[in-house]
């Protein structure tokens, strides 16, 4: 298992210019929901790409359109294959979600600091996830399941907008069937054909089984969801420094030069996106940020 950053922050591939993306070919594509697709990419060039750790992201380039920061959602054990789950939310992401097998896109990175998995070893691990917060945490699950004996209880609470917005549906069913982790799913609203939980994901926290004095939590999703969930975990006795959040801002360069992703004193592409709640709690409350 890697450390927080497999490649030093600011590392890149693609030659001399840190801005130049390397060509990657789409080798597999899955439609997750109406507006979200998962692309598996492999480098066109034979040279192996740098490794990555769960929680890092790439800058993906849609040719002639532009770039977007997309979290890596595949397994670190297969570093040549770079998997990304992308929701169509603008011109760049719309073009990326429409990419077909065989198409070539650009890729820079990996960038940022990932989830501190080593800190969770020997402890209970909680993942609290909202919406497209699951893709950045899926590599964590892969790593945990590959080294399951290193962790105590593993609890996941995943919330989505509706049942139709759940990504990785088949994988979730497999995770839910496992005896060595507990995977709860809730949706904000549903029709009568849904017999699962309805509400918001932080509601599941009182039901999660863990020892607050020896647990680490990773939170990823909309900021308001992370804020409520972090507070619910603190209310259950967890220390703020054991709760980690993945922050999202407008990443541009990816290596701490342009300042677009500044959040308080942090440049999230370089210092984050994963940060301890104890470091960012005060900035959550600032509306200007």
């Amino acid at each position: 298992m890697g450390s927080e950053t497999a490649a030093p922050p600011g590392s890149h591939e693609g030659g001399a210019s840190p801005w130049a993306p390397a060509p990657y070919r789409v080798v597999e594509r899955a439609q997750e929901t109406a507006d979200t697709a998962t692309l598996a990419l492999e480098p066109v060039e034979p040279a192996p790409p740098p490794g990555f750790v769960p929680g890092q992201f790439h800058m993906l380039y849609a040719p002639d359109i532009g770039e977007a920061a997309i979290s890596i959602s595949g397994a670190p054990s297969d570093p040549r294959r770079r998997v990304h789950t992308i929701r169509s939310a603008g011109r760049v992401t719309d073009a990326l979600t429409r990419a077909r097998v065989g198409d070539v896109v650009g890729l820079r990175g990996p960038y940022g600091r990932g989830w501190p998995l080593r800190e969770a070893e020997g402890k209970d691990l909680l993942l609290v996830v909202g919406g497209l917060g699951l893709p950045p945490l899926r590599p964590v699950l892969y790593e945990v399941l590959a080294h399951r004996d290193r962790f105590r209880r593993v609890e996941i609470a995943y919330g989505a907008r509706t049942p139709k917005d759940l990504v990785y549906y088949d994988e979730i069913q497999a995770w839910r069937a496992r005896k060595d982790l507990r995977f709860q799913v809730t949706v904000d609203r549903a029709g009568v054909d849904w017999y699962g939980d309805v509400g918001i994901v932080s509601q599941r926290i009182p039901d999660m089984r863990f020892d607050p004095s020896s647990a680490v939590a990773f939170l990823c999703g909309p900021e308001i969801m992370m804020r409520g969930s972090a507070q619910a975990l603190v209310d259950r006795g967890m220390s703020r420094s054991s709760v980690y959040v993945s922050m999202e801002r407008n990443m541009k360069c990816g290596f701490g030069q342009c300042g677009h992703c500044q959040f308080g004193p942090y440049l999230l592409c370089r210092d984050g996106p994963v940060l301890p709640y104890s470091s960012v709690e005060r900035y959550f409350a600032l509306r200007e940020l």
Binding site: G130, D188, V192, Y195, P222, I224
Partner: protein
């Protein structure tokens, strides 16, 4: 062999909503409490009908649903063991404001609303403690509804 009848008194005292309430108050509502069981899909409450009971969930899962003309039935919240269903029994005109349906085999403790109101009126200190438990439930559900309205997972 038939399983023994659940100890309603003990279950009432141990339900998270009532745990720690004054023993005299709990004794006063014991006689107004019944156990009810529902199969998957069974309705527990129905919008527009008289809200005659407070429901304490012991087992299972209840979906609180809204129905509007020309729209599909919408599930907005599920409630499980340790939680409660409804405060319409307390607030005039005592009419349920949503439907409630069992999403799996469900068992509740049902406290007669008129009796409960009478006990609360007779025991103001206990009524205050009761409200200190009920208002946070209402507050949490209002907060949940606000976040749902924000559609935070939308683009």
């Amino acid at each position: 062999m038939r399983s023994p009848k659940p100890d309603l008194r003990g279950e009432l005292r141990e339900h998270p909503f009532l745990r720690g309430m004054d023993p005299g108050f709990l004794q006063a509502i014991e006689g107004a409490t019944q156990e009810r069981s529902f199969g998957t899909g069974d309705p527990l409450i129905r919008e527009g009908e008289a809200a005659k009971e407070m429901l304490l969930v012991q087992q299972g899962k209840i979906g609180l649903e809204l129905v509007a003309p020309d729209r599909p039935r919408l599930s907005l919240l599920t409630v499980g063991p340790g939680e409660i269903v409804g405060w319409s029994w307390l607030i005039p005109p005592h009419i349920w404001l949503s439907d409630g349906r069992a999403l799996k085999p469900t068992r509740v403790l049902a406290i007669d609303g008129a009796s409960l109101r009478a006990v609360l009126e007779d025991r103001p200190k206990d009524a205050y403690q009761f409200m200190l438990r009920l208002v946070p439930v209402i507050s949490r559900r209002l907060q949940i509804a606000r976040i749902q309205v924000m559609d935070i997972h939308g683009v």
